[in-house]
């Protein structure tokens, strides 16, 4: 049984076919990159699968169950989590509280109204461990709004990871950060995600990053899946090269302009 299967998934915004009849199957443990030019429908696909948008038609099968009509919180509880292209944090909470909140929520402890949050040593230990995994231990007590962009990006991913999802969507986890930070962020994310065996779908523009970390690459264009395959297969695909970088031929992806 596949972890996720989308069947004829569609999401239109007027004449714009954001997600156009997408049939995609994701197996457990895969690290998939979702690539494509701007407006290809990558983020829309993530939004529909994570219930941020409702689908116009089609089905979303998660672990064999049809979750098409479930809410955001139901999908989170089922095991689908995501980070955001534009950092989406609890800005007036500390880095620690951001992560701790995700853990409290996962454990159903946010219903607890009569105990002090900081007295929960289990959650405290786990939140500190997560911050440590993402290299944010030193920023534990800083407000999220005060963190640097790269740190905010990592915290955004850490928040989703702390939910211990089965399927994790990471929407451009390295956008808006320097090339140097990009490598570090992806190394951190890849090691954490692979270490825990979490299935990840990463929306990414930087093809160097994509080729380096992915098991499988899914190329989207105008809302539909144009191609999918291993990094080696995609590297050789001239149609993909034309659409993504505007040139084709052998080693098109390796040429730097």
């Amino acid at each position: 049984m596949s972890l996720l299967e989308t069947v004829h998934l569609k999401k239109y915004f007027g004449d714009t076919h954001a997600v156009d009849d997408v049939n995609l199957t994701i197996e457990e443990g895969e690290f998939i990159s979702l690539v494509g030019p701007n407006g290809a429908g990558k983020t829309s696909f993530c939004n529909v699968v994570s219930a941020y948008y409702s689908a116009d038609s089609g089905k979303i099968i998660f672990q064999g169950e049809d979750v098409s009509n479930t809410s955001v919180t139901q999908r989170v509880k089922a095991g689908i989590a995501r980070s955001f292209q534009l950092v989406n944090l609890f800005d007036d909470l500390t880095a620690f509280d951001n992560v701790a909140l995700a853990i409290f929520s996962r454990e159903g402890k946010t219903r607890n109204i009569v105990a002090l949050a900081r007295r929960d040593s289990e959650v405290t230990r786990e939140a500190d461990a997560v911050l440590n995994q993402f290299g944010l231990a030193g920023k534990r007590n800083e407000l999220a709004r005060g963190l640097a962009q790269g740190e905010r990006k990592l915290l955004d991913v850490a928040l989703a990871y702390a939910l211990r999802p089965k399927l994790l969507f990471l929407d451009e986890p390295t956008s808006g950060v320097s090339t140097h930070d990009k490598g570090q962020i992806m190394d951190t994310i890849a090691s954490v995600v692979r270490g825990e065996g979490i299935t990840a779908v990463v929306v990414e523009h930087d093809m160097d990053v994509v080729f380096k970390y992915s098991d499988r690459i899914v190329v989207m264009h105008q809302g539909a899946i144009l191609a999918q395959g291993t990094p080696t297969e995609i590297r050789k695909n001239e149609q993909v090269a034309m659409i993504l970088i505007g040139s084709s031929g052998p080693d098109a992806f390796s040429r730097k302009d």
């Binding site: 609890f90 509280d97 995700a102 109204i113 105990a115 002090l116 928040l159 989703a160």
Partner: protein, 341 residues
């Protein structure tokens, strides 16, 4: 005042460990405990009113400061508590203040659960307007159904008929008003301390953290699995209950409940108190309520244009001290600490 303002520098529960605020709270409580022996009964009476309003503002701020929802209709819950007590005393002949509290809280819970269910479907100005409109519905009911509510005459609740602590303290006989003021002060002080501790635990609980998360970013809150609307509703009901408790305690002191406490300017006063003290801090609304009570009392006594005076204070406050008394004091203290270290 916009909620954008509410978000900036909003309350977080990081900071010094629990013992420092606890020591400060005990010190303040001791001062409050000896105060009636040092001041005249009128000042004790004023302070009792201030503490009652502090409970109301504390409840209100669970919504504004911690959940990011600005209610303009908290008079409804204050009034629900007050009128329920009035009905219990008048129609059921109840004497026990504890029975009044239980009844008043149940009445308030019913109203706030119902109103909250409708209001939390919206946020920002829509939420504010809905809370205002619903409170006005209660006001018009109290105003028009005079055969039930006494209309503008209101309902009398005589302190002399009430007993405290399950009948242990009663106020029959001569000189009873002074005895009532003295005893009731301690009664209110006890409940105020209890309400403050309960609220402190709530805002520092995982549930309180979830509310702060909703305040900061409701989209992300739902993406970590929090049912935003349900949590807002629970916060609304708790907030209403605290304000209702204040209404319950207020009635015997005032001796009368009238539709004025359901009218929208009274909701405005509760907002004023929180802004005055600083809604971005836990203690701000408490300080704001006590200070506002003195401010209003002396403004009313000194000029017939007291509303103008309060209006000027509000304008100056928003322009000069947007973080309120406590927020500004905390900032100055932090600057002083940095300067000396």
């Amino acid at each position: 005042m916009s909620l954008a303002v509410a978000k900036k520098g909003a309350i977080t529960s990081t900071g010094p460990s629990a013992w420092r605020p606890a020591v400060a709270a005990i010190a303040i409580l001791l001062v409050l405990a000896v105060l009636p022996s040092l001041v005249d009964p009128y000042q004790t009476l004023l302070l009792t009113y201030g503490l009652i309003m502090a409970i109301a503002a504390l409840g209100f701020n669970l919504l504004l400061g911690y959940t990011g929802l600005l209610s303009f209709g908290h008079s409804a819950y204050f009034g629900a508590g007050a009128y329920t007590v009035a009905f219990i005393v008048r129609d059921l002949g109840a004497q026990s203040m504890e029975l009044c509290i239980v009844g008043g809280l149940l009445g308030t819970l019913l109203i706030s659960a119902l109103f909250g269910f409708v209001c939390v479907r919206h946020t920002r100005i829509f939420f504010g307007i809905l809370t205002l409109a619903l409170s006005q519905v209660l006001w018009s009911l109290a105003f028009k159904f005079f055969w039930v509510t006494g209309g503008t005459d209101g309902i009398r609740v005589a302190y002399a008929k009430l007993t405290l602590l399950g009948g242990l303290v009663n106020f029959a006989g001569p000189g009873s008003f002074q005895r009532f003021v003295f005893a009731y002060y301690y009664y209110v002080l006890g409940l105020f301390a209890l309400a403050t501790v309960v609220m402190w635990v709530i805002v520092h609980s995982p549930f309180g953290k979830a509310l702060q998360a909703i305040r900061d970013n409701e989209t992300r809150a739902s993406f970590v699995g929090i049912s935003v609307r349900r949590y807002r509703w629970i916060a609304f009901v708790i907030s209403g209950a605290f304000t209702g408790l204040a209404g319950v305690l207020w009635v015997p002191l005032n001796g009368l409940t009238t539709p004025d406490i359901l009218y929208w300017p009274f909701s405005g006063e509760i907002v004023f108190m929180s802004v005055l003290g600083g809604f971005r801090t836990f203690t701000g609304p408490i300080v704001g309520a006590v200070v506002f009570n003195y401010l209003k009392t002396y403004a009313v006594a000194s000029t017939e244009y007291w509303q103008l005076l309060l209006g000027v204070v509000l304008v100056v406050l928003v322009l000069a001290l947007p973080s309120g008394i406590v927020g500004t004091a905390a900032r100055l203290a932090a600057r002083f600490t940095r300067g000396t270290s």
